[in-house]
């Protein structure tokens, strides 16, 4: 049935309709090309190359002999080699201990900061974020400066205070315990952030319901509040475990001198002369699988949306009055901040400003010698700083660009199969840096590409590693932009790309800059993939620091480390100030 309406007017309108139709046909030919499909295909190809190609070569090398016929011999060798098994087990137990201690340290801290009347909560939160910014390998080196058995500053102070001779030492960082300690210092913020957020979100009326039924504060905390943040605690611990398990820098710095390997350092050792690439590829596979399982577990925990995430805030959270306990709480917070931030940073400063690590600090011993050496004498640092800067800027820009377009295509379902792009862009999160390093080496160091020894292979590595961070940031930002804002632009005559450029990008400006900064900081501190892919011509600051550690040149390390920290903090600072710098003040949408 046709619902033709007002047919009596039909004749009168016919003429104008025809005229208009001709008019609009003409307008249709003005060059308006919708690029979303070619763009989609291009991105899909780029992401496949970035993510799947190295994994393919990893699998290929681990499952073939040198002549290319399929074999399981590599895995058999892997399994029968006691040193590899041992490295794997040590890595696992190290990671689990780190997860456990991170949780034990971070949960009380998160509770104090989120649910009590302890003063200085914002300050503590931002300081914990600061230990996030510290590259873990730098933290490990700083702790080696503090707690090495002979030269460690803390041991020197201990011997000086008690008049003991050189053979006595209070701490020894070059042990399994020392390694767990140093890694925990820079992994617990993962747990802290998640748990503090969860504490923020526990609705106060749930606790009030327990109180009105007669629950004392302690009972309420134990029976109501803690169970609700339990998923966040577990999820955070899993992230810490994954970080520790896949970490290369800190174990290489602390475990190798102590005479034991973890799996990442073992893989690295297969790259030393004579290289055993097939064995490296094979040992990377279990590392990859365990990482994927752990992350899957973490997603499952958070994805259940059990209790805390649901519903969000209802009323401001109730704050427990600490009373006289606040002194104990303050001491606890101070201890954590000293151990993770204050002591290591002071150690770096002290070492940077004196000739010798064990030299007592006085006005006369202060020197800028190390700065002069690093910046003007030591030839490879200037190249490394330059390389780091180029790679940091280009990785941040390209990765943010790709992440923006992928997040757009996924969030707006702009092309069929767009969700697949999102999966590809998130996948590298489950690929440990060293595994990716092996894969990229196998994929691009061959004569076909010949990229080994160029900055390109590092750029590819960093793009792959940092893409998930940028993508997650931007994809959550897209949820804050109402699709109608974009549709309004389309219906007024703008193409998809023009809309993305003129409407969406400006609205996402804050998130874009934040994503850019994230990627930049992540890039300049990357070590685990870099260490396999770098050569003398493509040294980066992180690798130089690692090399200098092997030669024991602490003064130069301290200077470079401080440089890295200053740049990172500057970027974070600028990122936080962006709404002010960016011109128009932030406004609520219409």
């Amino acid at each position: 049935m046709a619902h033709s309406v007002d047919t009596d007017q039909l004749m009168g309108d016919k003429v104008t309709t025809a005229a208009l139709s001709a008019d609009s046909t003409a307008r249709r030919h003005v060059g308006r090309l919708d690029l979303s499909t070619p763009l989609f295909l291009l991105l899909a190809t780029v992401l496949c190359v970035l993510v799947l190609l190295p994994l393919f070569w990893l699998g290929y090398y681990s499952l073939t002999t040198k002549s290319g016929s399929p074999t399981l011999a590599n895995f058999v060798r892997l399994f029968n080699d006691a040193t590899i098994r041992r490295a794997f087990l040590i890595a696992l137990s190290m990671a689990l201990s780190v997860g456990l201690f991170s949780c034990l340290v971070a949960t009380p801290l998160a509770w104090l900061v989120a649910r009590t009347d302890m003063p200085g909560q914002r300050f503590v939160r931002s300081l914990v974020t600061a230990s996030f910014v510290t590259p873990p390998f730098l933290g490990a080196i700083a702790w080696a400066m503090l707690a090495a058995p002979n030269s460690g500053i803390l041991n020197n102070i201990y011997r000086w205070a008690f008049g003991l001779d050189q053979s006595q030492a209070l701490f020894n960082i070059y042990t399994f315990t020392g390694l767990v300690f140093a890694v925990t210092c820079y992994s617990f913020p993962f747990v802290f952030t998640l748990v503090a957020n969860a504490f923020d979100k526990v609705p106060s009326d749930l606790e009030e319901a327990s109180a009105i039924l007669g629950g004392k504060p302690g009972t309420t905390l134990r029976r109501v509040t803690l169970p609700m943040v339990l998923p966040a605690m577990l999820a955070g611990s899993l992230v810490a475990i994954v970080q520790a398990f896949t970490m290369f820098g800190s174990p290489a710095i602390l475990a190798l001198p102590a005479g034991f390997h973890v799996i990442t350092t073992k893989i690295w050792s297969f790259f030393q002369f004579p290289p055993k690439l097939d064995l490296a590829a094979a040992s990377a596979v279990p590392l990859l699988i365990v990482t994927m399982l752990l992350l899957w577990g973490q997603r499952w925990l958070l994805g259940r949306r059990g209790y805390t995430v649901l519903g969000g805030k209802s009323g401001t959270p109730r704050r427990v009055k600490l009373g006289n306990w606040k002194w104990l709480a303050g001491a606890y917070v101070l201890l954590i901040l000293c151990v993770t931030i204050l002591f290591p940073y002071l150690a770096l400063l002290k070492v940077a400003l004196t000739h010798n690590i064990s030299e007592p600090l006085s006005w006369n011993s202060l020197t800028l010698h190390n700065f002069h050496f690093v910046l003007f004498e030591f030839s490879s640092t200037r190249l490394a700083i330059w390389n780091t800067l180029i790679l940091g800027l280009s990785t941040a820009t390209i990765a943010t660009g790709i992440a923006l377009v992928v997040a757009y295509l996924v969030a707006r379902r702009a092309a069929p199969g767009a969700a697949f792009l999102g999966v590809l862009a998130t996948a590298p999160i489950a690929i440990p840096g060293i595994v990716l390093g092996v894969g990229l080496f196998l994929a691009y160091a061959n004569p076909t590409f010949g990229l080994y020894g160029t900055l390109w292979i590092l750029l590819i590595a960093f793009l792959t590693i940092e893409l998930p961070a940028g993508y997650q940031q931007l994809s959550s930002a897209f949820h804050g932009v109402h699709p109608e804002l974009e549709e309004a632009s389309r219906i007024l005559g703008a193409t998809r790309l023009k809309t993305l450029w003129q409407i969406t990008a400006p609205l996402l400006r804050t998130s874009l800059i934040a994503a850019w900064c994230f990627v930049f900081i992540g890039t300049i501190r990357e070590l685990s993939a870099t260490v396999l892919l770098t050569t003398a011509q493509t040294k980066l600051v992180s690798v130089i620091i690692y090399d200098l550690n092997e030669s024991g040149d602490y003064g130069a390390i301290a200077v470079l480390g401080l440089l890295l920290l200053v740049v990172s903090f500057t970027v974070v600072f600028i990122a936080n100030r962006v709404p002010v710098l960016g011109g128009a003040p932030p406004r609520s949408g219409g």
């Binding site: 309709t17 007024l492 193409t495 998809r496 609205l507």
Partner: protein, 355 residues
């Protein structure tokens, strides 16, 4: 030939068909309202016209050319349409003037041209003093007017409105209803207006299209739709009505059971089987005196509930057959609850519904 034509337009999402073979022809310069409850497919139909959604079947023609079909669809930007969104969709990072000028800039107009056109529309929508403000600094009504100005300034061939008033408070909504109609009379764009509000549709529309579950139930002038509903759904959704189910027993008589026989003044009759009769709430006359003489179009029942509303009384009456009907009576007809009442449905107020 109508200007905008929907031809067997169908949209499916998986198993779910949200728009079912909708046929509709909209004359140039008319304002057509798509009216229906939420989930009836009216917004999807509008988004199909705009080009944000591609049809699964059928096609859309504008001025004779096919703009949407399952094979190929013109993107929204090529349709020379404008749209006003439920959320207004004002860009928070642009001033009022920049928002309005955006469409003109896309058309590569000269600076002077943009300035004149934008100023003229800002004047027409009483916004000239707010041109340099940001949307976040405006009230809801002002934001609504900016969104109107932005849509009108490009002189679109077709204007689309997606529940434009649902975010305003009651007073503003009434004012903007007339404003939209006034601007339409001034500019005479072919307009498709989506709403679930009957009053909005009646105020603004030349033609109302009532939709339900993806189908067009009825299309016609506001008077047509209200006075001559053709289905139970339309009768109940527009203005509200009591529906009596029954069987046709004479040329214009329907037996609704339990002694209720209704003679109908108008409507369509089913050839055989079940049909229905609709009577508007205020067309049911109540009395507590037993009628004498011809009992056609009379029935009796018991007052379940009676509410005094100042201008009238609202009754809920349980009929002897078990159904419950609603009646609106003058204040002076005051019958207490649980009392027996007699109801009269005048034949010229009974409308037969074939389905």
């Amino acid at each position: 030939m109508a200007f905008v034509e929907l031809d067997k337009l169908t949209k499916r999402y998986g198993q779910l068909t949200v728009v079912k073979e909708v046929d509709l022809a909209i004359e140039k310069g008319k304002l057509v309202c798509l009216l229906g409850p939420s989930g009836c497919g009216k917004t999807t139909t509008l988004r199909l016209v705009a080009g944000f959604v591609q049809p699964s079947d059928g096609q859309i023609r504008v001025g004779g050319r096919v703009v949407s079909s399952p094979k190929a669809s013109e993107p929204p930007e090529a349709r020379n349409m404008s749209m006003i969104f439920q959320s207004y969709a004002l860009w928070p990072h642009m001033t009022v003037f920049e928002n309005v000028a955006y469409g003109l800039r896309l058309r590569r107009l000269g600076k002077a041209d943009i300035q004149t056109k934008a100023s003229r529309i800002l004047q027409a929508t009483k916004l000239e003093s707010l041109a340099e403000r940001y949307p976040g600094e405006l009230s809801g009504g002002q934001q609504q007017r900016v969104s109107l100005a932005r849509a009108l300034v490009i002189e679109p061939e077709t204007l689309l409105l997606d529940e434009p008033l649902s975010n305003l408070d009651a007073n503003l909504r009434e004012e903007m209803r007339f404003e939209i109609r006034r601007l339409h009379d001034e500019f005479r764009y072919t307009t498709v207006y989506v709403t679930h509000d009957q009053t909005e549709a009646m105020t603004a529309a030349d033609v109302i299209v009532v939709m339900n579950q993806g189908n067009v139930e009825q299309a016609g002038s506001p008077e047509d739709i209200y006075e001559r509903p053709r289905s139970e759904f339309v009768a109940q959704f527009i203005g509200g009505a009591n529906i009596f189910k029954g069987k046709r027993v004479g040329t214009d008589t329907v037996d609704c059971g339990n002694g209720l026989v209704l003679r109908c003044g108008s409507g369509d009759y089913a050839a055989s089987g079940q049909m229905a009769v609709s009577v508007r709430h205020h067309d049911l006359h109540l009395t507590n005196e037993k009628p004498s003489g011809d009992l056609a179009n009379w029935t009796s029942g018991k007052v379940l509930r009676q509410v005094y509303l100042g201008s009238h009384r609202d009754y809920l009456v349980s009929l002897s057959g078990g159904e419950t009907v609603r009646a609106i009576a003058p204040v002076n007809v005051a019958i207490p609850e649980n009392q027996q009442v007699w109801l009269h449905c005048p034949p010229d107020r009974c409308r037969a519904l074939a389905h």
